[in-house]
Amino acid sequence: MIKPAVLLALSAVTILLPVLTRKRILYPFVFGAVFAAGIFVAKETVLIPYWLYPFGWQVRIDALSYFFIVLLTFLVFMVALYSYAYIDKSDNSYFGWLGLLLTACLGVIVSADFLNFFLFWDLVAFALYLLIRKNQPEVARRYFIIQFSGAGILLLAIMLNYVNTGHLLLGPVSGSLKILFILGIGVKGAIWGLHFWLPEAHTKAPSSISCLLSGFVVKLGIYGFIRLLPDSNRFFLVLGVLMALYGVVFALFQHDAKTLLAYHTISQLGYIIMGLGSGNITGQTGALYHLFNHAVFKGLLFLAVGAVGYRLGTRDLRKMGYLYKSMPVTTITCLVAALSIAGIAPFNGYISKTLIKEGLYDINLIKNLITVVNYGTLLSFSKLMYYGFFNRPEEFKEKNASLKEVPVSMSAAMMVLALVCLFTGLMPGLLLNNTLLPEIPINFWSISKLWSNTLTLAAGLLIFYFARKVLRPKYKVINDIDYFYRLILPAFSRTETILKGLHTGNLNHYLIWYFTFLTVIVLLII
């Protein structure tokens, strides 16, 4: 068993990778070593006193943290493997920032005191800023400012909690502070109302980073909810349903493949939150399992779309097609991921969605809404697969059909993820028993369940066939709620202009201010 401090030190080494060696081929191996360390880490609670002495670091690895650590290190390992070929040869610092992201996410998961939790929370946002800014500095800056503001709300909540409880250890918070914590954590976790940064960030970031963003970083919000707000079931149910529906509806009408995937992340996050709010062990297990699965298949989807973009140069669904001939590996892995997210047996999405549905057995309204969401998911992924890979538009025939498959490192990463989708679907016990989640006595392979599953698939494909024309990707700018947030911005520039106008540069005015202030103070104090 590896001590937690060793795991943390090893991931800190990855930050210095570009400095230590220029041979890029070594980088994925180091990340693989971190993955191995993550699997064998000891589940214990230690206090590391010499980190930020005299504040120290309370490190806690329990079953929940272990689950997240395995997911994180695995995903980063796959992304590092993929990035070996995907990232421009000249840019090795990317791997250093990737290591920073890894360390920061690890820090968030293992911290049991609020100081370090907050420190690494901010560091995650900063690492993502560094990763996105190479190609899209504007987007990176906007992302960071939004996350930093959310972290500011979180800081306020932490401090008020400190006043209430008198200590800085991570734990469930009491009533009135819950709203502040929800707002603070929700900015990173992309809950509805604070989700507006997500489509832009995911679309404009490099695909490997979108994979990590969607796959892991927004899940840190869920992690925060689990640790800090353990019994807010009603709220989570409502929020989850809202997010699930909203995400699917917006996703259906996108023309850019990555924006479609980004809105789906919101939808699946809604699923997870619904499962968290179900109140019983089945639903919550399903939520956590869906968290893992979503990371795997959504990550795979982003990597596949990224592979298409790598060869084709665009991710616009209007320009794709014919790819099933030229890029078979990408097509197959993408198909696996699409089936998983739609919840089709025997892939992992089926297991987790069934678990969540069983967990919410007593609320019929929600079950019906879930069915609607499932159909929507099926429809949008049929759209993605059809227009992305299987369609045969004449105009793109030569260009698309003559592409080469992606390099080995990228396809290897994608295939591993697809295999994980399959295996965690066929053998849920592998992950469920070894981590924290108990054995759930549901027969996933009962004939009735499989039959209804196949019926859903068939019905969905049929609806797509008839609705093909409606769902064709068209260029349409769909305004999300950030339209309303932007309306507030002119107020700030008005304040700035007024204040700037007050500083006239005229010495007389400055002296008058001074003596006015003096008079006011003297009158106040006397």
């Binding site: 930020l52 907050f118 960071f144 500011g152 401090m159 001074y514």
Partner: protein, 493 residues
């Protein structure tokens, strides 16, 4: 080692006077004289800090006993401030060797050394009027150094600074007069014992006058108007010193009077602590908002200084020991980071021959070391984790909210977010790919050592906050219990 306080003040004065003699050795070898003097001063202040950690030194100038004579107190808080200003000054002197051209350099170094002596005297003295004298020494040299470049902007900034500053000094002298006429003593520790007896009106008026008078020196709102002009028109090392050390020493002096002369309970009963904390909040907000709207990089940094000083004043006005620790820590962190910022901007602006942000775009590629210093300083002030600003902002926010001032905690958070906004905008602009018509500018020489050292200090303090914190905790303890320490040494008046 008992003469250490006086040596700290005399050493730079000696260097200045020897340099101002118009003899050939002074004219040709000024760099050697100043370099040696700076190294000696740095060593002396570190020695002073170490000595004060063992036991405070109490020096009677001229041998006159208290309360007749002037005393110099070297306890951990004074030692800490002296050491901290020495770090900045040494970096600035090293930087100035490369930055200031030969023509007027002698006068520059004379003024710089006198400024150093003035600032060190301000923190070391235990006598009220002596503090005014040192304030004036430091201020007058600061006025001249701001005007050093003799461009229209520098002169205009200097005259504005001078007028506002002199009025401030007049108010401080008036307040001292009121205190002396009511009490009859000028020693700070002695005054603490006697100030209970004076009638209310003079007490209140003197507090108001002190706040207004020191407010100009430390650029509290609405007396901050000179700082943006002065710090943007001064030569880069002078901006670094003024922003990094001068305003901090001013805050230190103000709060020394508030804590150790009046006693914090008096201030609480008058409501002055509430006034001070609100002034601090207003300063922080106005500084932040103004900084977001500037086209000139050095002016933006100057408004950022105003903002951070507002935060320091907010947390020092709480009246608690932890508040003092957080305040001193932020003084140290901001001083180091702002020093790195101004020095790196100086070298970049000198190459690009402009101070405007649009004119400096793309320069990060040509001057990676200076850009590294700038980045570390900017990230430190914004509050990125693992750099020193994060820890001090955390401590300030914690202290504010723990003492019930939630609204002021929110002000700190808002100021941080605005700070992230304008600092990141500049970082992006400096690193953007330069346009095809820009000339290729070479990297700076010899000026990057101080920048990189200060940046490295930021990083080290961020990862190991223990190193300054252990000193700062002792410093705040000594500051808080100043009067009992003095009484312990002298045994009563």
């Amino acid at each position: 080692m008992n003469h250490l306080p006086v040596l700290l003040i005399i050493n730079p004065l000696l260097a200045a006077f020897s340099l101002s003699l118009s003899i050939p050795p002074a004219r040709k070898n000024y760099k050697i004289i100043i370099g040696v003097s700076a190294v000696i001063q740095f060593a002396l202040s570190m020695a002073a800090l170490l000595t004060s950690l063992q036991q405070p030194v109490h020096y009677h100038v001229g041998g006159w006993p208290v309360p007749l004579g002037i005393t110099l107190i070297l306890d951990v808080s004074s030692g800490f401030m002296a050491a901290f200003t020495s770090i900045l000054f040494t970096a600035a002197v090293l930087y100035s060797f490369a930055y200031i051209g030969r023509g007027k350099a002698r006068y520059y170094y004379v003024l710089l050394m006198i400024l150093w002596a003035g600032l060190t005297g301000m923190v070391l003295t235990g006598d009220l009027f002596n503090m005014i004298v040192f304030i004036e020494i430091a201020s007058v040299t600061a006025y001249s150094l701001v005007a050093f470049d003799e461009t229209s902007f520098s002169l205009e900034a200097s005259i504005k600074y001078m007028m506002l500053g002199t009025v401030g000094t007049i108010l401080i002298i008036l307040a001292t007069g009121i205190i002396y006429s009511s009490v009859g003593s000028l020693n700070i520790a002695d005054l603490y014992n006697r100030i209970q007896g004076i009638p209310e009106k003079p007490l209140k008026i003197s507090i108001a006058l002190f706040v207004a008078g020191f407010g100009v020196k430390t650029a509290l709102v609405p007396m901050h108007t000179w700082l943006a002009d002065a710090h943007s028109s001064a030569p880069a090392p002078i901006s670094a010193i003024l922003s990094g050390a001068f305003v901090k020493v001013g805050v230190f002096a103000l709060f020394k009077l508030m804590y150790n002369m009046y006693g914090w309970s008096v201030l609480t009963s008058l409501g002055t602590d509430q006034l001070l904390i609100n002034i601090g909040a207003a300063t922080a907000l106005i500084g932040g908002i103004m900084a977001a709207n500037q086209a000139d990089l050095k002016r933006m940094l100057a408004y950022s200084t105003i903002s951070q000083v507002g935060l320091i004043v907010m947390v020092l006005s709480l009246g608690t020991l932890q508040g003092l620790t957080a305040g001193f820590f932020h003084m140290f962190n901001h001083g180091i980071a702002k020093g790195a910022l101004f020095l790196s901007v100086g070298s970049m602006a000198k190459r690009a021959k402009t101070n405007r942000i649009t004119g400096l775009s793309g320069i990060g590629h040509d001057m990676p070391l200076s850009y590294f210093g700038f980045t570390v300083g900017a990230l430190a002030i914004v509050g990125i984790p693992l750099l020193n600003g994060f820890m001090s902002k955390w401590l300030i926010c914690s202290n504010l909210i723990q003492n019930g001032h939630t609204l002021h905690g929110i002000v700190l958070i808002i100021v941080s977010i605005i700070g992230a906004f304008y600092y990141f905008r500049v970082l992006e602009r400096l690193a953007s790919p330069a346009g095809p018509d820009k000339k290729h500018r070479e990297t700076s020489y010899g000026m990057f050592v101080p920048v990189v050292t200060l940046a490295g200090l930021c990083i080290i303090t961020g990862l190991l906050p223990y190193i300054p914190l252990v000193v700062i905790e002792r410093a705040s303890l000594d500051f808080f219990s100043y009067n009992s320490i003095i009484t312990g040494i002298i045994g009563g008046f």
